[in-house]
């Protein structure tokens, strides 16, 4: 084991091949999980164009996203006029159920007073009193994707959720962090519903971003949690909070509704999934359904089959903080060594990471730290560095523009953990099998300069079993 360095920032002045994505983009994604929503960036139009292209490339879906189109003059004089005009235009053209406004570096540097602009808008537009409007402060120059996502969800909770006198039996809330893909949310829904409970996800990307085939063209998001459902979250029995970055939103929700919340720092891995299942079983008073029992059994079996290939493997992981935590923890569960965990931003969850080096950095830092690694786990941007140092890349997170079905990957619950286990395990397995062919059959030394893992042993790893 290496020495544990407590996440130093890399001392560079130039971020090289950045891992970080900005706050407004995270906010946009959260807003996209609300039905008939239009996210709006308060900034110059490039801010929106870049974010839009990134999300389009990842999800392969049309992405509704608008801009207040700040120009030089409005940037200097103040952008309220642009904001009001944008909101009114969007309302007239598309009549969305919610408009989610995220600020950018431009408006935050100017210091636009968003709370003030909100009241001013309400004052000047009494006719639009029914329009749901969420303003989130998401400067590009601080925090990152997760923080923006968190700010938007918190904003939605504060604007839309209503306290309730009564409780609806079996209704539960799920604050779903941005490390959950649409596929993950779908999986969670399956699990929760299998206990006879009815979940309200905030946001619910599984309904809006997992590949819709609408009957007509809509300019807003299509599918997702409805504003009415969000309003009714106060009547739930319990809130499941998934991800460290959902804590603030969870606090806001509890404060507003008195609904008790249960926190999950991750849902990937056997024990993490066990805890979820136990919680749901206790809450519903129902036994664990046969399907989940079978899934658990196969996960345990998969861990037994797969651990040969994971043990002592040296892995570098670079992802958004909560996903980074979920993945590094899972890899540690499997006996792998996380030699480097690189996060784009500084957050509390980094304290909990099990890794030899934890660092706030970029893809070029990964490239340096992963030189003798067996695997890099990161987003598609990691491919350039991984290719240069000849280490295989397993793609996770966002953006994932060079793979199909990026949004539908599942890595939560017994089934999702099993899928992740097999995907990464197969990468190791295929490399060992290839080595075996070259090494044993032709007597060549291993050509890739790796010292570890070169001897497959006699049957223990299974590669010479057949």
């Amino acid at each position: 084991m290496g020495t544990i360095q407590r996440f130093p920032h890399s001392a560079k002045a130039a971020a090289t091949n950045p891992l970080k994505m900005s706050q407004p983009l995270g906010a946009a994604l959260a807003f996209l999980g609300v039905d008939r929503c239009m996210p709006l960036f308060h900034g110059s139009q490039g801010c929106t164009a870049f974010g839009l292209v990134l999300l389009v490339r990842h999800f392969r879906e049309a992405i509704p996203l608008q801009t207040t189109a700040m120009d030089q003059v409005s940037t200097i004089l103040g952008g309220y006029e642009n904001l009001e005009q944008a909101v009114r235009t969007i309302h007239e053209r598309n009549a969305p159920a919610l408009i989610g406004v995220a600020t950018t570096g431009v408006t935050e540097t100017k210091g636009e007073d968003m709370a003030g602009q909100y009241s001013l808008f309400r004052q000047r537009n009494p006719a639009l009193a029914g329009l749901k409007l969420v303003f989130a402060n998401t400067p590009d120059f601080s925090g990152g994707f997760e923080d923006g996502f968190s700010a938007a969800v918190t904003g939605i909770v504060e604007e839309v959720v209503q306290p309730s006198e009564t409780t609806v039996k079996g209704q539960i809330n799920v604050l779903a962090g941005c490390h959950l893909s649409p596929g993950d949310v779908e999986e969670l829904r399956d699990i929760i519903e299998s206990f006879g409970l009815s979940p309200i996800f905030l946001p619910d990307l599984s309904l809006s971003m997992s590949g819709r085939q609408p009957d007509d063209f809509t300019a807003t998001s299509l599918g997702g949690v409805t504003v009415e459902q969000i309003a009714s979250m106060g009547a739930s029995e319990l809130t499941l909070v998934v991800g460290e970055h959902m804590r603030v939103a969870a606090a806001a929700l509890e404060l507003k509704t008195d609904v008790r919340s249960v926190f999950f720092d991750r849902l990937t891995g056997l024990e993490a999934s066990d805890r979820l299942v136990r919680t749901l079983s206790e809450l519903s008073g129902r036994p664990v359904p046969a399907k989940l029992r079978r899934q658990r059994e196969t996960l345990v079996d998969g861990m037994l089959d797969g651990h040969f290939f994971y043990s002592r493997k040296r892995i570098a992981v670079a992802l958004e903080p909560d996903l980074l935590y979920a993945v590094t923890s899972f890899l540690a569960d499997m006996g792998a060594e996380v030699i480097a965990a690189v996060s784009p931003t500084q957050t509390a969850v980094l304290e909990k990471l099990k890794a030899a080096t934890v660092m706030v950095g970029d893809h070029s830092d990964v490239e340096t730290l992963a030189r003798d690694a067996d695997l890099i786990v990161s987003n598609s941007h990691g491919r350039q560095g991984a290719a240069r140092i000849g280490v295989p890349l397993h793609r996770m997170g966002l953006p994932m523009f060079d793979r199909l079905g990026a949004g539908l990957k599942v890595h939560v619950g017994y089934r999702g953990t099993r899928e992740l286990l097999f995907e990464i395990g197969n990468l190791f397995l295929s490399r060992e099998m290839d080595h075996d062919e070259h090494g044993h059959a032709h007597g060549h030394p291993h050509g890739d300069g790796h010292e570890h893992g070169q001897h497959c042993g006699s049957g223990s790893c299974g590669c010479s079993a057949g």
Partner: protein
């Protein structure tokens, strides 16, 4: 400074839109005020980056908060035959503290790090909105860094909020004129050296054209900026002729090179058979006018004759397959015009095209050729495009990536004509590639399947292959 530059760019006399305007109109500039809540498209910084980033061996450093580069790097299909440094994303990733204290020191440090680690022939530094707002003097930092580090460090003054992507292209051109072109002398020059402006080598398109030029004996001294090298761009002033490919974006470069160094320019296109031949002919003629050996005209005619007959022969098999197929074309001005003629040559029918980026003359030209009933849209709403496709007014849509889902959600074939595609469409071979791509998607068996009703929606007596939508 920047204001003067903007005025200058707006006044561009080489711009055909400007020529049609009164002096007063011209002064107002060409950047239309964007409508908040209904605007789309990139900003000036985006445009500047698009124009310069294909200079492959230079480092491109974005001075700004993370959004400007973090959300956008590694997303264009421009190709390089050598250095890959242009694909590395560099940014100062400005934080709150940089905004309070100013980002100049960090910027200098970043430039220094890049020079020390990568030793590029030059560093381009892109100004973005936030440092422009807090008053970081990027030009001064670049000047200082250049002196200190002994390398060209070039400020690209195109912060996003000054205008559109197109304006950013022009500002990038100005940057090259101010700081790059004319700073390096070529070792050898020939009477047939040319400079190509506004060609970005997307999907390797330049490489479909270059062999033909080689064969004729025309040398690309510099291409601005596809598959470009910094020193080649810096030598552009020794070209004998400039070809401006995307005239809307970089005509200012062609005109000012003429003004400064007496290099004549022409506007041409590599898209479509006849446009391609015209381009080669014009090149040869103009080079001969400037003293090149007359023999290149014969060689050009020889190449054109051979290539044209080859391309028509290769397009022949597509004609019966394309018979009756209708295309909806949504792309910028000149490109769509070149494409129209090429696609019609292959037997397709074009039902309409967007003219958002076309000049008045372009529009007139199309009207004259195609008649009044041919659709030209300045601005068509996504919902209307969707409806047109759904109602089967076209069999395929060709556009940029942003509108692909309008077609795909309407379950109609779609083909990418813009920067993210992987197939080159330039030159004679490019047109064949394009027809192959169209044929491939039109004849894909998925179209029948995806239009089938779900089992639970099917009427009991309906035939299983009945087309439920847009039939």
């Amino acid at each position: 400074m920047l204001q003067e530059k903007l005025q200058d760019v707006f006044n561009e006399p080489g711009c055909s839109t400007n020529q049609a305007k009164s002096e007063k109109e011209r002064k107002k500039g060409c950047s239309k005020a964007l409508k908040p809540g209904a605007a789309a498209g990139g900003c000036a910084y985006d445009g500047a980056m698009i124009a310069l980033q294909p200079i492959a061996d230079a480092a491109h450093l974005v001075h700004g908060p993370i959004a400007c580069l973090g959300n956008s790097w590694d997303n264009r299909g421009t190709k390089s035959s050598g250095s890959q440094l242009y694909r590395t994303g560099f940014t100062t990733d400005m934080s709150e503290l940089d905004i309070i204290h100013g980002g100049e020191k960090k910027l200098y440090k970043a430039i220094k790090e890049i020079v020390q680690q990568y030793d590029p022939p030059a560093v381009f530094v892109y100004q973005t909105c936030v440092p422009a707002m807090i008053g970081d003097d990027i030009e001064a930092v670049c000047k200082f860094a250049a002196k200190k580090l002994g390398k060209p460090v070039i400020p690209v003054m195109a912060p996003g909020f000054v205008g559109s992507k197109n304006l950013g292209n022009k500002l990038a051109g100005e940057t090259l004129l101010d700081h790059v072109i004319g700073t390096v002398e070529p070792e050898v020059t020939t009477p047939t050296d040319i400079c190509i402006v506004g060609e970005y080598n997307l999907a390797g398109e330049l490489w479909l054209v270059k062999p033909l030029l080689d064969e004729i004996g025309i040398r690309i001294l510099s291409c601005i900026s596809g598959d470009g090298r910094y020193n080649e761009v810096a030598q552009a002033h020794r070209a004998r002729l400039t070809m401006v490919v995307c005239s809307q974006a970089l005509v200012n470069v062609g005109r000012k090179m003429q003004e400064r160094w007496g290099i004549p320019y022409f506007e041409g296109s590599f898209y479509g058979v006849s446009d391609m031949s015209d381009t080669l002919r014009t090149m040869a003629r103009m080079l001969v006018e400037r003293g090149a050996d007359k023999a290149i005209i014969d060689r050009t005619e020889g190449v054109i004759a051979r290539e044209e007959s080859r391309v028509w022969r290769r397009l022949e098999p597509y004609k019966p397959r394309f018979d009756g197929k209708r295309v909806l074309l949504f792309t910028g001005g000149v490109k769509s015009w070149s494409m129209v003629t090429a696609l019609e040559g292959a037997g397709l029918t074009i039902v309409g095209t967007s003219t958002k980026k076309s000049t008045k003359e372009d529009k007139e030209r199309i009207k004259k050729m195609k008649g009044e009933e041919f659709h030209q849209w300045d601005d068509l709403k996504p919902r209307d495009i969707y409806k047109m496709l759904r109602d089967s007014e076209a069999d395929i849509m060709m556009s940029g990536g942003r509108s692909q889902f309008i077609a795909l959600k309407a379950k109609v074939p779609w083909l990418d004509l813009n920067q993210e595609r992987h197939t080159p469409y330039a030159g004679y071979d490019g047109i064949v590639n394009l027809c192959e791509e169209i044929d491939k998607t039109l004849s894909n068996p998925i179209w029948r399947q995806v239009r089938l009703a779900a089992p639970w929606d099917m009427k009991p007596d309906a035939k299983p292959d009945a087309r439920p939508v847009g039939a």
